[in-house]
Amino acid sequence: MLGSGELGVTTFFSSSIPNDKCGANGLPLTPNSIKVLGQFQQLITLRHPNLCRYVDMIKCKHERVIVVFEHHRKNLAQLEPHVKTDSKLLQVFADVLGGLFYLHGEGLVHSYLGPSTILLTEEGVCKLTHHGVYAMTGCGAHVTFPVGQVKYSAPEIFCKLPGCESRNGSKVDTWSLGITMLEASLGITLWASLSVKQIIQRILSFLTIDVPVIDLIIRDHKCPEKLEKMSSSLQHLITRCLNVNPKQRPTAEELLEEACLQPYRKVHEIRGLNGCCMFSTGLRCQNLELSDFSQVEDEELEPLRELDIDQVYYLWQLAGGDIIRTLDNAGKIKSRPPITNLYSFVCDDGESFGAERDSSVLFDDHILVLSLDQLKQRLSNLDETAYYPLLEEENDESNGVGGNGSSNIELNETATLPLVIKEKDIEYQFHRILLYKRLLDGYPYKRAQIWKEARVDIPPLVRPMVWAALLEIEGDVYGRYIAIDKDSPTPTDRQIEVDIPRCHQYDDLLSSPMGHHKLKRVLKAWVMSHPELVYWQGLDSLAAPFLKLNFNQEALAFACLDAFIPKYLNMFFLKDNSLVIQEYLAVFRNLIAFHDPALSNHLEEIGFIPDLYAIPWFLTMFAHVFPLQKIFHLWDTMLLGNSSLPLCIGVAILHQLRDTLLSFGFNECILLFSDMPEIDIEKCVQDSIRIFCSTPRSATFRQYAKQSKSETSNKPWTSYYSTDPNTIKSALDSEPIPLEELKANRCSRISAADLIELGELAGPVGTKSPTKKTKNSRPKILIIDIRSPEEYQRGTVPGSVNIPHTTSFSVEGTLNPTPQVNTLNAHRLQVKVIIGSQGNTSLNFGNKLVALGYSKVCVLHRGIEALRPTGLLVVPPIEAHT
């Protein structure tokens, strides 16, 4: 919750690397700003009532980075003297120590502690800020400025102490707190008249004089009377902090145990970061306390301030907020012409003179506040109830985009706009993120509704969690991930190590050392937890989108990858996967012929078969061929579909390039796909859904696809394209087809069950078949019986036409014109089901039709025999055609 906070920003330069250097692998060195960006990410996950939250980091030109975080306008230095009571100061002590204790527990050191970095909220709670500067800059390694405030720095920062190994252990913070509190309690500014050099000398002198530091400082400032006024508890605490020996200096944890602080300690229930609780195994509502609504009236917050800070920031950006411009207007982006940084004089020995130090490379800890006015104005016409969308409404079910009130119609209109517009529409996004946050809080019970909303769209802000929900991730993902050994060397390590520096490296996060480290761990975890599967090149691309979305939650990235692979890539990562891939490609090839025989005929003729271009498509579910942003939009829909949807996406891609491909020969086609051309993903997604819906389920049957559980469990059937073709229920369903047979034929197959359903042969039944979507009463299929007229007369499928295979084709291979052929020609758009006897005649007939350019041709698997047991066959009416 934003509460009384603000969005603050600060900016600094990371040090630049000479551009003639390259790394051991020959690749350019990673810029420091990218390293900083990678290290910054973990700070976003810090959650503590005494720490300001980090929200975002933006990388700009010239190694500049901008940090966005929670801010409060008042700091300790501005605390009025009359409120500096003993109890207030002890409260500050306790708050700061609480924050430090948490920070140190996370393995981080503040290192920039001072009165200006201890903020006070309107409610009087202390919150630390700039506590991540040291960590994000790699302990100061990636910047030219020192991370720390000289006056508050512990002596060991300036000189190595004997017997002390780390100069910057967490105890430097204890010292800084001591100086800060001493200054605050005395109400004076220490060493106000001394230069930086003199201050450092002063601090170092503490090491040599065997007198308590607090006494030395009091002597310096000649104010013993002020010390006397200080309470003994404060004196005691400050004295303990200001121990020159870091070994004897207490930690934050030890100080918190002091008796005098006990009344001020607060027990905080530290909640995980958003969504963590989605997968908790504990009882989520165990400690739930409903606030007493009768009392809130007085201090009611603006509803905007009740939003989470990351939501506010997301909306702030959509409201037209531009951080770089804001900083620039405030004069925070100073840049000097490079020529002014040149030396005026350089000696033979390299000594140089005359260059002024550019002050902009130093750290400016001043925090600029981002104004929320524009955001408030943009949201001003929203009703307050919009902030609290109701999930259960009396007349629910009907409205596609959830939400209530008058704006509903408008929202539904926006929902139909192109994605790029929707993602920039602040009001729309406002409703969507609030609705999703509520739904996600109710996961898994609200899964069906999440599924339903995801069919409309998924806002970028909530995508990580929505994906996890769509992949049906549940349970203790963190515990499971932690238990996997990700560190022991394995034979796959070298391969992973050479692949990662080539995987989606245009992305700043994934190209950072932290990104490499995390991707490696996720991949190793996957390899370790699947002894029957192996790492194939491409797995890195597949894992990258999940890591990019869940950069701070490796465990969830892993869980998503782990759920994704069996769903879409079952057995693809077997050590011997050739049969699996070949079956997949053969089905794909048939699917192209089914939907676009002309294109298929052309590609077959020039020899441009899927084996030559589609392996990287499917092995990585397009993650190897599209940039991340496109993958996100593609997978948003793909995750709603079953394991056959990717095949339709493949056809949709070809469809989009149809005209180009038709005009191209083999070489040009090869060149075209060697670098995936620009594809309109939104169109591709729409096309693939359309293709999916006009494909009989059994036409994409694959024996190696994951056999879905026959009982449909509690899975919501809100998505009509989620029924899996691999649900084998009865003898009428599909059965495995030998690979050679699949590859030898170009037309697809349909199972008897599918035929009965599509042709409504068993009477109208409540069916979920995609092709039944439209209310059109015209038959969706044309059944062609190709047996001889005699056999046909003895019994056939109701409504079928008889085009005997023996007599129908002319010598040239075209169909002889007959009334039945005219019927066929009149049903170009319908699915054509060819029924013959057993044997290859039907397949040959189908192949001929494909070659002639008939679309949607499929053959009834096992022929007429498959239908005999059903008792559906009838004697056809005598037709008066002569």
Binding site: G26, Y535, G538, I670
Partner: protein
């Protein structure tokens, strides 16, 4: 010359004969196989060239005196695991470039294994070239030029150190191969195209390695 385009395309109507050859690139992961092909075919270089999955196929044509030589280039995945697929790709190849990384001794060892396999399994007349890539990183060299040269001579391989990054010797190595290939009538493109990979073939082939192991 880093920005230079690919090899010369045939200008206008080529009067001479047209020969078509299948060429396969083999070698350990991340030695620069795809980069070499990309430099040769498109004149480009990407620092972060993505890994190849399965195999990538490209073509390029070069002119050699009065002959137009068209290369069908099979750029294979370097991962050891894809090894089982390699025979499908080098079967019927008239030329091969075995690539190693001069900054990594292991990749040279792997290159030798590939050469051995080609000599044993590929067509007997196959022209094999050895390319020591990443020559621009000479200061990190781990494989001596002389060592590789001696090995190449022993095995009668073409040998060059190349750099896909600077384009050094990239076109040259392809041209050298083109020169060495027999440009008899049999080499011509008129034969019916056996495009891509006949995945059925594995069942009949006695070498059998392709999809087992």
């Amino acid at each position: 010359m880093a920005g230079r385009g690919g090899a010369q395309w045939p200008n206008g109507a080529a009067q001479g004969k047209i020969c078509q050859f299948k060429l396969v690139l083999l070698g350990e992961s991340a030695v620069g196989k795809s980069s070499l092909v990309l430099r040769f075919v498109k004149g480009q270089f990407h620092e972060y060239q993505e890994s190849t999955i399965g195999a990538a196929f490209l073509t390029q044509t070069v002119c050699l005196d009065d002959t137009t030589v068209k290369f069908e280039i099979w750029d294979t995945a370097g991962q050891e695991r894809y090894h089982s697929l390699a025979p499908m790709y080098y079967r019927g190849a008239q030329a091969a470039i075995v690539v190693y990384d001069i900054t990594n001794q292991d990749t040279f060892g792997r290159a030798k294994t590939w050469v051995k396999e080609l000599q044993r399994q590929a067509s007997p007349n196959i022209v094999i070239a050895l390319a020591g890539n990443k020559a621009d990183l000479a200061n990190k060299r781990m494989v001596e030029y002389d060592e590789a040269q001696a090995y190449a001579e022993e095995n009668s391989l073409l040998f060059m150190e190349t750099s896909a990054k600077t384009a050094m010797n990239v076109n040259d190595i392809f041209l050298a191969i083109a020169k060495k290939l027999p440009k008899s009538e049999q080499g011509q493109a008129s034969q019916p195209r056996q495009r891509g990979v006949d995945l059925n073939e594995q069942n009949q082939s006695s070498s059998g390695g392709c999809c087992k192991s």
